[in-house]
Symmetry: C3
């Protein structure tokens, strides 16, 4: 076991310092918002209150929040357990960096999106937004999976969350972009950030660990738990922070149809690109989800089920083709070692989603949206609103996101290259044993029938 | 590997053609409904609106929808992973045919339940109904599990979804039946349809694959994931499309009590029928769910917790006894090879549920239901309403369902018998390797300590 | 196989008798409540109704109920699958005793919390409360895991549920305590009850089974499913029965922050206490959850995110240290064999949660809570309310809970010691094979390529 990967001091120190900083900042900056504060929420009571408890944002948002929460912790966590000897790290590091990121994101998003009298207000919407930002970090985690220490991952999260918040602010507040499901802010940003990081951290001798960079039968089944949860709850993800009523309802449904269509495309192309016509678990686990990514921007618009299904079909197709043909080229030509193939699941489908969002915005009209127009496009409050211009700003938002992600990933990659984080050597990538106590082998199964004495049993198990 | 099972052209072609047809039909026929359309939902706004966003059907139905969705994709998918070498197919084919069926079902149910000016209106309720229809197909899948190619399964789904919609229309619209949780429409229909299909597809030499037609330790644990999710969310399944308020609330609770009681019966009879008094995972995984099936019709009625528990207890009992004594007879005498034992989980408990529903309907009265009577029995709008007649129609509904299922399964079975679908040979049933890329074996666990050189390690792993 | 563990008669008899008693008692005592009864809920209808369906408690509580339900059946069930040869029993017995306990708890809690004209009224709130009581039994199950027969566990549940209901009544109704998330009623009670039971059932020769009292690689991944679900849904657990509106919203958020902070503490101290700086799955699986336990009482109060994070950090820290240093001492000195380490996950964090609750109560004021004060502290209806006194009663509640748990566990332990329950011998603890049909070994994976004849294959598999 290489001594340099012993994290006994580094990991505890970093975790404790970060959490202490978080606690201090929360103590000085964070307050309950109107719907979580006992005094504020109950202000009108005993007078002729027109507000009722069922109007608390909790009842509109909390079920969606829980679905998103499952995607972040079970979805992303188990999706990455496909590696044969990296299940503890996949679920465990996912858990650690998500728990950190959601706290840090609350602060960063609170800062840039505007303080209230110097305070950050929190409630279920901020919880969803923090989980969203965390999702972006976990996407990047997919690119460097198996090749980074938990200390490195935490440092990556510090920078990525911060830049995420800045990029999100530019898109939503400066450019007025629509991106409720985060095709740009979450998927495109997380993917290209992660790809740039893994490019900078390029390991020429990674093939020394290639025998561990693959799945086994049961690890693929664990990964399917992640896939299916992501697939099922993606409608909640895309609709979690849209406006109440028809936008939330419509977004969930558009996403549902996009994913269903995407799944058929995925199975079709997975079999087609195999000489023996066999399905590949890598495609099913990942490409079938691309449909959710690709309607992340347009999902809240009047995209129709028809439009959603076309987008989903395209997303599944490019994702499978990406896994089959593009990923090997990225590795051999561009030196981008993308463990989970996030370029195919989040990168290209994210860009597709941004483009679809720009087009759908540009086609919006009062005829189609009626009085609901400004509930989707916040600035469409008067008749002078120009959908073409809105579409243009959406396209600019994509460009900004790509630039922020690539630049941010570049800088962060170099910071992560410092030889101080206990990163695994090339010979021990994709291996839990570096950072985890690993249990021994299983006992023989039929020991009871053999009436072995305890001492014999212990010999057998040793 | 038999050449005839190579699906390289057949599967992609079928998937792509089906999805293109779906997209065209959705484009011409499907529209947002009142609660998902931006224009329609916001019509009253700016005037003195009496409708509020919290009245959107999304907030009444979407949490239930998500629970149902989990049952369809995780519940059914993982329940069938109990087979030792069929986990990829169980979860994967479940995923494929569910993703297809929910789209096809939206169209078929939309057609027969009535178009609005030539259009099918979609929203969360249609999503739940589509998932319900999909559930029926997945029940049938359980009967033929391991013995069919994905092409065959898609063809089966095309026919079964269509017939499901017709049968559902006859029951709900013509006969005015109550069946919110689908004891008849979903469970009885899916079970007897599937049993008839597997009867027609009878394989006299299936014992050539019998060594694979069983579980291993970890595959049984994966299957328990499916079981537990089905069990937990069944209250949401049965209550998902009942009327708002007391019926939805009551249905969930009745189902909860039925399942709890059923579980105790299952454990009791599983131990009792074993000579050594040992529990059998097959019973626990399946029979404990029969209580949910058996209150699928009566759950929304004033069945009481007491009644629900009795029904649940009966359902668990007949289900265990079915697995132990009836399934072997069905196979040896009637040539029905029922891989998952759907007759015990969905068939008999579904019929029981229909009978319980008929009796409970016949006992309904204004005294018990008060003003809520017509919210459960839609035609009970005046004093002339006769519960006895309602009970009679419920019984007729069961007969119609059985006839439709058996006849439909017969025809579909013969269609599936054509030798063009890449069906597995008798020697290779219950085997993922026919249709999936299978990963290699796991590396030795303690390699790190052995300081093996990479070349040696690769020798070991080969 | 020891004959004395054959449960063929004992288990069925007990299950059937218990369920018959339950059914009879439900038949005579249980009624639908106002929100589940067709007549009562629809009383005002057709007149000028001021009540609407969206005000039915179902819509406020059911999503939380489902999350709690997942914690009880998947969370607790899979958390205990970490043992290499006890997965069937962990999930299966969890399933059995939970299904029994939730029925029994409905009756016991209904009795002591007050009958309505001689009847127990049930609805979603009683379902949540029954699940809560069940959680307490499952905590105790963790202490005796692997060392008890299902018959013993059912007997334990009978007594523990009864005492739980009495203790809960004393706390909530007599002492007027706040304990929405059950730091005292659920966690402290369940933990010390279970610890006392396992103390009485002390096995001096348990090390004969110690080779099975550990995990293997995949069993730790199954356990992580339990952990992550418990972690994600704990905000729903703590907020499930608080008042509507701001208290429910605030509780969920406080719990979210406590858990995030706790997770960082857990990773920090897990690495710190390991000589090689390696993370231990036992800590991650358990200690990361202590933050949810520790805000079970104060979560609904104005604890702030800041306070929640401090409490979570402390809870994670003491929990890891408990696993590392205290558990071995408890076993060697006090003869407490605590399989899952419930003292570290539920015992100490539960006491911490009670203390935090007492302090936070004592600091409550009209300035901070405004008109919301009496919605958290039910007796704070006039200006004479004294928070100090409330804090004192909270402390008394903890003392009562500890006394009830220890005394109840003592008596129950001696009852469970009777040699009539088919308890496993010391040599066969932590072993599924005693009570379950165990499937055979897996077939060779690459058999297809070897073109083995069926007869040869069967030789291989035998």
């Amino acid at each position: 076991m290489p001594e340099s990967t012993n994290l006994r001091l580094r990991l505890p120190l970093l975790c404790i310092i970060l959490e202490v900083i978080l606690i201090i900042l929360f103590g000085t900056l964070v307050e309950y918002n109107h719907d979580t504060d006992a005094k504020l929420w109950n202000k009108g009571i005993n007078q002729n209150a027109t507000r009722h408890d069922y109007e608390n944002e909790f009842y509109y948002r909390y079920p969606s929040f829980q679905d998103v929460h499952v995607m972040i912790f079970v979805g992303f966590g188990f999706l990455m357990t496909f590696l044969q000897r990296y299940g503890f790290s996949s679920v465990g590091f996912n858990f650690l960096i998500a728990a950190f990121s959601l706290q840090w994101a609350t602060l960063m998003q609170g800062f840039v999106h505007g303080l209230h009298h110097g305070k950050i207000h929190v409630g279920v919407t901020s919880m969803i937004n923090a989980d969203f930002c965390t999702g972006s970090v976990l996407i990047s985690f997919g690119a460097v999976l198996g090749k980074t220490s938990p200390v490195q991952l935490l440092v990556m999260a510090i920078f990525e969350v911060t830049l995420f918040a800045v990029n999100e602010f530019i898109l939503l507040s400066v450019l007025g972009a629509n991106d409720a499901g985060g095709s740009m802010t979450i998927h495109t940003f997380g993917a290209y950030f992660g790809l740039m990081v893994t490019r900078v951290l390029y390991r020429p001798n990674l093939d020394k660990s290639k025998h561990r960079n693959s799945s086994v039968y049961h690890s693929d089944l664990f990964a399917m738990i992640g896939t299916i949860y992501l697939w099922m709850f993606w409608p909640s993800f895309n609709s979690a922070i849209t406006n109440y009523g028809d936008p939330q309802h419509r977004t969930a449904m558009n996403t549902y149809y996009s994913l269903a269509s995407c799944t058929l495309a995925t199975f079709a192309f997975s079999a087609l690109v195999s000489p023996e016509g066999k399905l590949d678990m890598v495609h099913i686990q990942n490409a079938a989800l691309a449909g959710g990514v690709a309607v992340g921007t347009a999902g809240e618009m009047m995209l129709t089920a028809f439009g959603s299904m076309i987008v989903g079909f395209l997303a599944g197709t490019i994702s499978v083709l990406g896994y089959k043909y593009l990923t090997p080229i990225l590795e051999s030509k561009l030196k981008i070692q993308d463990t989970c193939g996030i370029h195919n699941l989040h990168g290209m489908p994210g860009v597709l989603g941004a483009v679809v969002g720009a087009i759908t915005s540009a086609m919006a009209s009062k005829e189609v949206y009626g009085n609901g127009l400004h509930r989707v496009f916040a600035d469409a409050t008067d008749d002078k609103w120009d959908p073409k211009s809105r579409g243009g700003f959406q396209a600019v938002s994509l460009a900004v996101t790509l630039a922020m992600a690539l630049l941010g990933g570049l800088v962060t990659g170099f910071i992560l290259k410092l030889p101080i984080y206990g990163s695994p050597p090339d010979t021990h990538c994709f291996e839990d044993e570096l950072y985890w106590e690993i249990p021994g082998e299983e006992e023989g199964h039929n020991e009871l029938k053999e009436v072995a004495s305890p001492s014999e049993e212990e010999k057998l198990s040793s």
